[in-house]
């Protein structure tokens, strides 16, 4: 699969319309692929795309939600903004979930929406929606273009804002008369004009010193590593820092892969379905150093019991995250990489933490992640391990939301960053499969696996058309438990087994469904068949869907019940 992308800027053909100018500006920003869906208000842009088809790629998705999740997957893997184009009204409102998802998980997106012509804005014109009002709280910033001459500046600013500081989605609303408007004369190159936007990259040296001093004195230090480390591309520095001072590392759900899971210092994931060792390390620590995690409630549990003995240091590029949920003694506003380099230069003495490390090793040995094999069926945890094995732990893994997501997080251990794509903050069902498509577009040579639930997959499965059409070799593993598994689990454990509307009594034949899209499908309901078939399915040079029937009763353990603290997990030992 190759996405066509030629970047030379053709100066000979001057832009004719606002839309042609827009496309030229995108090419200048280095955009290779537009994730798009046409409609009335963006027809001028599609006409410009037609004219520029040798210079910029476009992928037609089958639903705007699918395409924006794909753009998120692309952004997660490349670190560059995913570029989305939708029409006005319903096109734009179909993007709302994806924009919110990107906002919560700090993914850079530049979203272009068509809008009715300026002369009829505010008249409830056909396919008019107040996209600016709708998206103000869910974007890092948004613009409505009021004049063609503003377009160069706005496009430049949109890419700049989306991809710098704490990344996020930026939306540009394009009235149709702007994109269809003829360009008279030369449109000036524009400079960014953002006096109110200056992210802090460099840490305050006094705070770095304070952290270095605290580290030297600590006896129970722990690092918490979040997605900020991914955005800063700082995994190497983080690993060097942890190894230099022998500090154990907990990662957040989104931070998986920022620190090698097979390092002796790795405690695995923290939080609601984290490991016992990780959560107890956070609970008992006397110095908690948070790099780029936002102390989300699924990580902290009950704040009253969160890290009660710890001095907290928080390194974050977004000052508003520091002290928001957890009182912080050492606030460091900085890019994680810049801060880590400073720390590597300015920390000499390591903490005396031998006892602490021994204790944590014991926790790891005594309370590992567990599941029970069942001779009568396939365990979903085992399935994830089998996928890990067949991909040598080197695949890009995208998940949907639910039990399978947590099992993937627990059992597909990552030793490298930028391999893990999941919807953390918003927990968006329907995310996993299209996000995998975006990842495959970003990394054509990599093995990309979508580990999805049987319910969530049905929210965006229409994108099967796209992987067929583009021959994107995404491997879809449906962890099919015939249930809204996570909901079922909560009902069983917390609502006295009142299973209310969480079983899927009717399902499509997923194999036939795949085949109807032209995609190879297979149903597997036992371990032997899986072991026998998986290598060949993964070797297949094209998309594959595997409908894996797993045990419905399996639950995600251990678990920190809602309202509990990190030290109050249940299911820490085989039940």
């Amino acid at each position: 699969m190759k996405v066509e992308a030629k970047l030379e800027f053709q100066t000979s053909t001057a832009p004719k319309t606002g839309a042609d100018l827009l496309i030229d500006l995108l090419i200048k920003e280095g955009v290779e692929t537009i994730f798009g869906y046409p409609g009335g208000a963006v027809l001028p842009i599609y006409d410009a795309i037609y004219r520029a088809k040798d210079r910029i790629g476009h992928i037609l998705f089958r639903h705007e939600q699918g395409m924006i999740h794909a753009a998120e997957g692309y952004a997660r893997i490349t670190g560059n903004p995913g570029v989305v184009l939708a029409t006005s009204g319903p096109g734009a409102t179909n993007l709302v979930t994806g924009i919110t998802d990107a906002m919560m998980d700090s993914l850079p997106l530049v979203v272009f929406t068509g809008q009715v012509a300026r002369s009829v804005i505010g008249t409830d014109a056909f396919q008019e929606a107040d996209v600016m009002a709708i998206t103000t709280p869910i974007t890092k910033h948004n613009y409505q273009v009021q004049s063609i001459s503003d377009l160069p500046r706005i496009v430049k600013e949109a890419f700049h804002i989306a991809s710098t500081g704490r990344p996020g989605p930026v939306l540009v609303d394009l009235p149709k008369d702007i994109t269809s408007g003829a360009i008279s004369g030369i449109v000036e190159e524009a400079a960014i004009d953002l006096p109110g936007y200056q992210p802090t990259f460099k840490p305050n040296p006094l705070q770095i010193k304070k952290l270095a001093d605290s580290l030297a004195k600590a006896q129970k230090p722990v690092i918490l590593s979040g997605a900020g480390v991914l955005h800063a591309k700082a995994s190497e520095e983080l690993t060097a820092f942890a190894e230099k001072h022998n500090i154990p590392v907990v990662t957040t759900l989104l931070g998986l892969g920022t620190f090698p899971a097979d390092s002796p210092l790795s405690l695995g994931m923290g939080g609601m379905h984290g490991t016992y060792a990780a959560n107890m390390a956070l609970y008992e620590s006397d110095l908690l150093i948070n790099f780029g995690a936002r102390f989300d409630d699924r990580l902290t549990g009950n704040l009253k019991h969160f890290a009660p003995f710890a001095k907290v240091a928080h390194i974050d590029i977004d000052p508003a995250e520091i002290g928001k949920n957890v009182p912080t003694q050492i606030p460091i506003v900085a890019d994680a990489k810049v801060a880590l380099v400073e720390l590597l230069n300015h920390t000499k003495n390591s903490p005396k933490a031998d006892e602490w490390l021994e204790k944590l090793v014991k926790y790891k040995q005594e309370f590992p992640l567990w599941y029970k094999h069942d001779p009568n069926g396939m365990c979903p945890q085992w399935l994830v391990e089998a996928v890990h094995k067949v991909t040598n732990g080197k695949a890009i893994v995208s998940t949907d939301v639910g039990q399978h997501q947590m099992w993937a997080a627990q059992f597909y251990t990552f030793n490298e960053p930028h391999r893990w794509i999941t919807s953390g903050g918003l927990g968006t069902m329907g995310f996993g499969f299209p996000a995998a498509i975006g990842a495959q577009i970003a990394a054509p040579e990599s093995t990309v696996v979508a580990i999805v639930g049987d319910a969530g997959f049905q929210m965006t499965l229409q994108e099967l058309s796209v992987i067929y059409e583009r021959n994107l070799p995404v491997k879809i593993i449906i962890v099919n438990n015939g249930a809204l598994g996570m909901v079922r689990q909560w009902q069983e454990l917390l609502y006295d087994n009142r299973i209310s509307e969480s079983l899927l009594n009717s399902q499509p034949d997923f194999v036939k469904l795949a085949e109807s899209y032209g995609i190879r499908g297979m149903k597997i309901d036992n371990q032997e068949d899986l072991i026998a078939s998986l290598p060949e399915l993964f070797a297949h040079n094209g998309p594959v869907l595997v409908d894996c029937r797993v045990l419905q009763q399996e639950k995600v353990f251990p678990m920190m019940p809602p309202g509990a603290g990190l030290h109050e997990m249940i299911g820490v030992k085989p039940i």
């Binding site: 890092k140 109110g196 305050n204 000052p319 508003a320 520091i322």
Partner: protein, 173 residues
């Protein structure tokens, strides 16, 4: 607690929406808000009076406001030496026989009468909100038909006393 927060913002469309929407989403009560142009073209100033539970919440709202791309500067000026004023128009029921009494009453407030008709007069007063409140209380017995208030606008005095320095919300203390 009531805090006076001033914002300098880029005068772009939607900026007021952005600020009030943010305050609403993070559950801050706005007591009053006033907006207008400044000495610099393209830059506006907003004065917000907000009701905040505690310092941590206040710090959070200040930081969230600062994060907005169009917001240039956020200052909590509550504890500084400031000039703070509000203008109110108060329409009072009044036949001709009461006019002189009302005149005598509003005089110490340096308020003026800006509109007169058969059944009512309109008083204009400027000052701190407490002063405006006091005048309204005094006029109430006459029968108030309508009140319009601008909300507070404020800035720092030219000279700031050394001691009573502003609490800075910067993390770089």
């Amino acid at each position: 607690m009531k805090r006076i927060i001033t914002l300098t913002v880029q005068d772009r469309s939607g900026v007021l929406n952005r600020v009030t929407g943010l305050l609403q989403r993070r559950q801050f009560n706005i007591t009053s808000i006033s907006v207008g142009p400044t000495e610099t073209e393209g830059v506006s100033k907003m004065t917000l009076v907000v009701d905040v539970e505690d310092d941590q919440r206040l710090e959070q709202v200040t930081k969230q406001l600062n994060k907005q791309i169009d917001v240039l500067k956020v200052s909590d000026i509550t504890d500084k030496a400031i000039v703070a004023r509000e203008l109110a128009l108060i329409k009072v029921t009044s036949g001709s026989q009461l006019r002189s009494e009302i005149n005598g009453l509003i005089d110490p407030f340096r308020a003026i009468i800006v509109d007169v008709c058969k059944e009512s007069i309109t008083v204009q007063v400027t000052g701190k909100p407490e002063k405006v409140d006091a005048l309204i209380d005094l006029l109430r017995p006459f029968g108030i038909k309508e009140i319009a208030r601008t909300g507070l606008t404020a800035f720092l005095r030219g000279h700031q006393p050394q001691v009573n320095e502003l609490v800075t919300y910067s993390l770089l203390k």
